[in-house]
Symmetry: C2
Subunit: 123 residues, 2 copies
DNA sequence: GCCATCCTCAACCATATGGTTGACGTCCTG
DNA sequence: CAGGACGTCAACCATATGGTTGAGGATGGC
């Protein structure tokens, strides 16, 4: 699985999104992170593993009680993907609007010209 | 499942991300969308259903051969969530930097003052 | 050095996911 | 109106996911 897929998958689960949200307030140990949930510590540990493999979280060391740290920069991978296609879609809407405006203008000037499939392959 | 979860889940699958990417080039029928993949049309139809339930995609009508349309605005729900916590994390780093700078200045001026847990609850 | 605490690993279970094939409904064509 | 093309529905299968419990491995305090 590629990292982008791992990132989206990681943030699919509401518990994991909540963990990320809490980590923006500062590093925390697994125990601290697990405390608020009505769920076993092992389950939270698994969630953290998923976040870690997605690159969203890191551990200071393999040590006992070592704090979990949020790696906020990897968010950019997702926003990068999203914004790219968001922009592309908007770009297309603008072109479509321009095209429709041009068509309106032409029909207002002289009516149909015999060329009637201007949308094909352009929009 | 809440919409945010559905959105992240929808974009987890590379095939669905690719469908979204292609829809930024313009609306398309299910058949057109399914053609490039080494996969049954039914499978692509399922993927489109997932995208539709996440709000990322809409159909012109229940009709035969009706085009699939991308709803790019819902991207904002995700970027909104991501950017919120991205900002929160950065905000925290700035506060931490400021605190460390203040500590350095103080120790440079007069050494320890006896109050030695300034990080607790602040970072 | 011992023991409690923190955390992870492993096995297990229920359900969700992503794919298949086959059957069916609906529309456009002739 | 008969037939083919397009799309979805349903059943099925393999694997992934999110949770549980039980056991075990390090660490740190005493």
């Amino acid at each position: 699985m590629d990292q982008l897929s791992r990132l989206f998958a990681a943030l699919t689960d509401p518990t994991r999104r909540d963990l990320v949200a809490r980590l923006t307030e500062g590093d925390a140990t697994v125990g601290e992170l697990a405390a608020p949930y009505d769920m076993s510590v092992q389950a939270v540990s698994k969630h953290l593993k998923v976040l870690e493999q997605a690159g969203l979280v890191s551990r200071a060391g393999p040590a006992h009680r070592s704090p979990v740290h949020l790696e906020a920069e990897v968010f950019d991978l997702m926003t990068g993907w999203i914004e790219r296609y968001r922009r592309r879609a908007e770009e297309r809407y603008r072109r479509l609007d321009a095209l429709l405006a041009a068509m309106n203008e032409r029909t207002a000037n002289e009516g149909t010209t015999g060329d009637e499939q201007p949308l094909e392959g352009t929009a």
